[in-house]
């Protein structure tokens, strides 16, 4: 069995409850941290671990912590990002639902390291039953003395609360999340100032993903050096992958970084291969915002190397022939999927979720959705592909927050790798009228109609 850090205890009956979690070594990191370590020593361990943020951007966690402004003397906050709304991603929910105390333990140990006395878990409103699970778990932690005043008799005090959103993907962006936590619309802020200097209520704030924070107890218990031994190169530790699409066993898996994409998709331990053993057509390895990979670039890179489940290997080849680890939202497509339809589906998502502050994003996402819909339903013209390319290029890099880029990249990658499919939709409009067109007749068998 592969190394597990987050899900090693997931099969213990009752691990959801405080008692069972505690009996199985839970909250040990809080004891160790508060009784034997200084806050800075914990930050050093996290730095040594090489842990990279699991929310999507992969920014080194210890480094981020070291930016928090301790000089101003203002109250500091840790905010856990449990907004999880990136299509293809459902791992944080799994952790919170099945082992809620792990996140709470991580929040306490991490808040101690940051010198935060008031911290929040921001969870998307749709996960209402998970919100209730976390709320109850926090009450249990208070009752057992892990939260509140003078934890373990020390002079460290922490209040922790869970806060719910109300249906807005953009609130996963850290500054929008802070606005939302302040009771406002989720409009991202212009950076700088960064949250580490001016975040929640103008106070220094660190925002970290659920999975990132859940790794901290293990690092404190076992040391950053031990953590860095797991994984491969600069991709240290394990990663939760949310696997979905045309695979036999969709679900959440904890992998050691460094296994091959082939093993992840085809082994019994993980996805179990393709449904009905149909051929693989495409892969989105890191959530809807990252570039889609065509079949020939999934198992091997353009250089012919094995494609590995690491930050480096997934992005090997840049945007021309690679993709990104992102949030680990791993979506697998077989030959019945229509890439144009899927790209339109994502464009619709981004158009719906744009907060509307920047014109390139607000207008551009809407135009992309319309043009893609036109192509998908057989009303496209030969200029539309270039028009799409032009729109996405004008969004990228021209907006306040990265949602604009996240909307542009999937369109660019789809055109780059699947241009023939777009052309087919334009040349044979009558053949794409039925929304299941490639279920009835996979593109692979009719491709010759548009390729030279």
């Amino acid at each position: 069995m592969a190394k597990k850090i987050l899900l090693d205890k997931i099969n213990i009956p009752g691990i959801k409850s405080y008692e069972v979690y505690r009996q199985n070594g839970g909250y040990a990191s809080v004891e160790k941290a508060i009784k034997t370590m200084t806050p800075d020593a914990i930050t050093e361990e996290v730095k040594a671990s090489g842990l990279r943020g699991r929310g999507g951007a992969g920014f080194p966690m210890g480094l981020k912590w070291s930016f928090i402004d301790k000089k101003s003397g203002k109250p500091r906050h840790l905010v856990c990002n449990a907004d999880e709304s990136e299509p293809g991603t459902f791992k944080d929910r799994y952790l919170m639902e099945h082992i809620p105390h792990l996140l709470i333990e991580g929040m306490i140990t991490s808040s101690y390291a940051l010198g935060a006395n008031l911290s929040y878990i921001y969870i998307r409103g749709e996960y209402m039953w998970v919100y209730k699970i976390i709320e109850r778990a926090i009450k249990e932690a208070y009752a057992a003395g892990w939260l509140g005043k003078n934890i373990l008799g020390s002079d460290y005090s922490l209040d922790l609360h869970v806060h719910c959103g109300a249906g807005a993907y953009i609130c996963g962006e850290e500054t929008a999340l802070i606005e939302s936590l302040e009771g406002k619309r989720g409009n991202p802020r212009i950076k700088p100032p960064f949250p580490a200097v001016s975040g929640l209520w103008g106070n220094p704030t660190v925002v970290n993903n659920v999975e990132s924070i859940s790794n901290v107890p293990w690092i404190v218990n076992n040391s950053g050096e031990e953590f860095a031994k797991i994984g491969l190169g600069r991709s240290t530790g394990t990663k939760l992958i949310s696997a979905s699409g045309h695979i036999k066993k969709p679900g959440v898996y904890e992998i050691e970084l460094g296994i091959t994409v082939d093993e992840f998709i085809n082994s019994e331990e993980y996805c179990g291969g393709m449904i009905d053993d149909r051929p693989i057509k495409a892969l989105i390895p890191g959530g809807s915002s990252v570039p889609i990979l065509p079949a020939h670039l999934i198992y091997k890179t353009a250089e012919g190397e094995d494609r590995l489940m690491t930050y480096e290997s997934l992005s090997e080849g840049g945007f021309a022939t690679g993709s990104m680890m992102g949030s680990g939202g791993f979506i697998v497509y077989n030959d019945t999927a229509c890439i144009v339809r899927n790209t339109w589906n994502f464009a619709k998502f981004y158009a719906h979720e744009s907060c509307g502050q920047c014109s390139p994003c607000r207008e551009g996402t809407g135009w992309m959705e319309k043009v893609l819909y036109r192509i998908e339903t057989g009303h496209g013209t030969s200029e539309d592909i270039d028009l799409l390319w032009d729109i996405q290029r004008k969004i990228e890099g021209n907006t306040i927050c990265p949602l604009g880029d996240a909307a542009a990249w999937p369109v660019a990658a789809a055109i780059r790798h699947f241009r023939e499919e777009f052309e087919y939709h334009i040349q044979f409009p009558e053949k794409v009228k039925n929304r299941n067109h490639f279920v009835d007749e996979p593109f692979e068998s009719i491709k010759h109609l548009v390729t030279k």
Partner: protein, 176 residues
Amino acid sequence: MENKNYTQVINITPELKSRIDELISHYPADKRKSALLPVLHEVQDAHDNWLSADLMAKVAEILEITPIEVFEVVTFYTMYNQKPMGKYMFEFCLTSCCSLRGAEDMLEYACEKLGIQPGGTTEDGMFSVVGVQCLGACGYAPMMQLGDFYKEHLTPAQIDQIIEDCKAGKIILHDK
């Protein structure tokens, strides 16, 4: 505003008030506004799943902010309804993975079964069917949200069953 035509009886029961006070206590005393999103969820759940202008004004009064501050939030977030919706609101995720696994078929099936259009509500006010964006259940597609819970791995037979259970009052909507 559309909701002009509808009236809503506002009733902040003592239980609701104490829950609101508990939520407000999660934020510093001078940051009551921060409780707005959680408070709106509670208030909406207790008022037939929608928020009238009068109810928003009431929330503003409780949080000591202006009504416009509530209104601008209600209009930003999709989970707040500004008009009455069915008691049982079927929210089908239509984003990528769900769509790949037949989400549109499920939504259409439910609509046909209930005799309504997507976005519509049955005349008796019992059911609404809407399509929504990714709910974070991609591995368990197709699926829908019903109250505080998810119904996953949907099939037409299961949708029939859920409709029956709703009619029989067997579905728990909120985890209070």
